[in-house]
Symmetry: C2
Subunit: 166 residues, 2 copies
């Protein structure tokens, strides 16, 4: 059975910001990645769907990049929320981040058919700019390394979202 | 109407290698990215689906990473095929590549609702290792820059695929 945290940061985003194809709980067709604390590390666990293959038997790299991307922004949100004196469930909304850059190293082919565990290490490099280093494991084997530079969501996103210009 | 080449490299992959969620023509639920030559550059054009959003109005970064990933391997396949003296449609199968690493810089938010055009520049850095630099444009505006290091598909993939071990 898939590992599932009691509460993930994505559960606590306001509805306006819960539409992400990767991690938005309101996006019916999305992946619904979820990210939580395990000690000093952040964790997301996801089992790829049958169609998420590169070749039969191996996970598609774009899905792994997507997992690392959303795990990165979610991890940064968890870390800044904690720095601000909050924890999930205390009634405050966590901050939202967007991805400035993404790096993915495919260390070895990722087997399909088992849950993937992304483990993140978060570092503040500027109050609005955080680095998240992620390792993705399949059945305990390190398959992918990733790095996300996440920045606090800029006001241009908020303005467009709130104006309903789409 | 969406731009569509007469023949893309993914059209010419053998059936065994046409299952990729990003660019495999046989993966019914996949994105079906397609990559072709335009002069000295490689091009893929894709219009994101309604659900492929980060926030309403903006394209999901993981989808952009996926486009850059498959555009990279497809571009490397086109380039090595040409180096080997072949062109699409001459009856020879193009080589297949896998991604060793992927970098994505999100230069500005990518608007949703228009076709995205990925334009690649391919460079051989080793006979089995090619670098593809990609720019992704939305309505003529550069939104994302990417880099893929693609390597000729290793025999471990082929062995597992051919043995049907999944």
């Amino acid at each position: 059975m898939e590992e599932r945290a009691g509460q993930a940061v994505q559960d606590a985003y306001p509805d306006d910001f819960a539409w992400c194809y990767g991690c938005g709980r309101l996006n019916e067709k999305g992946h619904h990645f979820r990210t939580w604390w395990e000690g000093e590390h952040t964790v997301s666990v996801y089992t790829p769907l049958p169609e998420h293959i590169a070749l039969p038997g191996f996970v598609y790299g774009g899905l792994l990049a997507s997992l690392i991307d959303c795990h990165g922004t979610g991890s940064a949100a968890l870390a800044l929320h904690r720095k601000n004196g909050h924890e999930l469930g205390d009634g405050t909304e966590p901050p939202r981040f967007v991805t400035a850059s993404l790096k993915v190293d495919f260390v070895k082919p990722t087997p399909h058919g088992v849950p993937l565990k992304a483990v993140g290490t978060v570092q503040e490099i500027h109050p609005k700019r955080w680095k998240v280093e992620t390792e993705v494991y399949a059945a305990g084997t390190l398959c992918v390394r990733g790095e996300v530079i996440a920045v606090v969501m800029p006001s241009t996103f908020l303005a467009r979202e709130r104006s309903g210009s789409e």
